[in-house]
Symmetry: D2
Subunit: 207 residues, 4 copies
């Protein structure tokens, strides 16, 4: 989702610093923000290919990897961004998460869903706390949006998958990254100044 968000934000006149590092180390999130300097908006797009395993087969390292890649760096990014935004009179933080915890998923997704739920809960709670300081923290909980990791061409051409889309997703199609970028723009902009701690689904009605 990174490139289409960068593209749309630039089209709208924003100056964007894109960082594609994984931010897994304890100090990296703060360092990235230090390098960025004064910012009005932070888009936290933390991801990891979903680890699939039955509950009785979960591997400790794979389980931890989900928290390391998605949960802990989100906290550290918001922690580092909050004070400077407060000092500047406000700001907007947009996290890209998942709507998978909002509805029962196919089997073997427990590790992924648990980490994504932790992200969503963090956004809600941090969003409430920072609202008084004019810092908005909200999430785009997406699912069934086009991307090459989850939906490579081989999947998209698979008839069974297309049938599944039709029966599971009310919109009967995948979303486009542009649609995600549009919601990110709304949440980043002055059009959403009364929206705090919200986890907004973007999944064609799936959840």
């Amino acid at each position: 989702m990174g490139p289409p968000i960068v593209k749309l934000f630039r089209e709208e006149g924003a100056e964007v610093l894109a960082d594609a590092s994984t931010l897994i180390g304890a100090t990296e999130p703060a360092e990235v923000l230090d390098r960025a300097g004064d910012i009005d908006v932070l888009v936290a797009n933390l991801d990891l290919a979903a680890y699939a395993a039955r509950v009785r087969d979960i591997d400790d390292d794979q389980w931890m990897a989900g928290f390391d890649a998605m949960v802990h760096p989100l906290m550290r990014l918001v922690r580092a961004a909050a004070q400077p935004m407060i000092d500047r009179g406000g700001g907007s933080i947009v996290a890209l998460t998942s709507s998978s915890p909002l509805r029962r998923m196919r089997p073997q997704a427990t590790s992924y869903v648990t980490a994504r739920a932790a992200q969503n809960a963090f956004v809600r709670s941090a969003g409430h706390e920072l609202a008084a300081h004019h810092v908005r923290v909200n999430a785009i909980a997406q699912n069934f949006v086009e991307n090459e990791t989850y939906y490579p061409p081989s999947i998209m051409e698979n008839e069974k998958f297309r049938d599944r889309l039709k029966s599971e997703v009310p919109a009967q199609r995948l979303g486009t990254p542009r649609e995600t970028a549009e919601l990110a723009l709304f949440l980043a902009s002055d059009a959403s100044t009364f929206t705090f701690g919200q986890v907004i689904s973007l999944d064609g009605g799936w959840s």
Copy 2:
């Protein structure tokens, strides 16, 4: 919320037909839509001053009035708008509802909360069904937004109310009608084409 929505939509170049009737009769919603002709967007802003009563004191007529003013006309508006929108290839319906069912309210709000919950459930379910036809149905579940019915100047100057705002609403202020209009614009526009059946809170983080 009507006037600021009309104003913003017109600023954005939309041709707006505003109707301020109560739409309580069984045929009125369809008649209003007939008069409007071809439309791309329907904003359904149905409201009634909240009836306050303890559960054991609920008056049958007042209870029914909430459903008559808020729930049944919403169904009838969407019912009448759906087929023409499908025939034209799609459209967007935005309902103004309330986030009061999403969180425990102060006492005596049961009648109001029940009717608002019915609205929100209708939006979710109708939104799922119509998604396949490119008709989006979504709701703005607002609370704590400035308006003269719920928050007249006498309330706003009341210190106790201002304290309540600070302790109950994370944003520590009321929203402005313009903020509601901005979310209505987002949901009406092509920026939200993958959003279906969503009830989006707009309440300064309250719910």
Copy 3:
């Protein structure tokens, strides 16, 4: 669900007055309670065969019938039961509702889902208000429980339905009315004295 609840409650030593009238008139709920005299527990089991229609085809009378049979009598029963229970020092009200509003349903269920959602919201709100008076109001939100109206033998022998059960219901079976009765007993008894305004799903993990 009525007979198995009556049976289990009697096995547990309760004196049960079963009333099978529809309670659609405005005064009938209070009259039934008057006839019952002093009660410790009220089980409100209001139902109507689900009306199936696309949103654009909803019939006004069928739509209203759902509110008349399920929503308004629930309010009137709780309204009539509340004061006598408060006067006697407390009591428990158990509503049988549906988990269908908690998860996207198959198409054409919008009328049914909207009425059931109103029931659930009423239980939550009334439950909060009456908690201070030691009156508990809670709901069993069931789905996929055996009953001859929704799941007649013809359906149960249908292979497609059995496949649907396996893919949609984590438990891969229908629940038994006895299982509903057991949850009703728990909510009616002194084992649940800290549970107020809860809508508890009973649907084999479906919702």
Copy 4:
């Protein structure tokens, strides 16, 4: 909550093995279960005094401690218990978690709430997966239940806290550990055999 649960289960004739270790190491959960041998029920009561900090002040070690004490051992316990329960034809796992993620909390609870939300999401997802194997996984999401860690006598005698109870908790009192034990018993017993992946609030109506 451990002792009252052990007491009630023993009163009901259960043979109970109580283990009070913290289970923080990666292999300890499986070792405890090995020592226990064949079991029908597992009650996972993982806890840690809530770490209070503003988001911008969260300490990495304290943040991790919440996941180490509450989230990871819950996964490891369920992982280790699942296969033997499946092999024996079924079983019931009851997790004690918190309803704090279900409603906006007082400030500074973000770390705690995030870890508790991960527990709740894990229970839902694991509960869905294991339902087909007759293994039930459910949670008691409690809050405002008497215990010496969160509510020592000094707090209980504090008038401000008693006022807060009255305004925030519909039941206007703390729950008793016995009330938690009763819900644990219900979820452990054959009275709840159609309940899977549920997170049931026990908080006097607070959430």
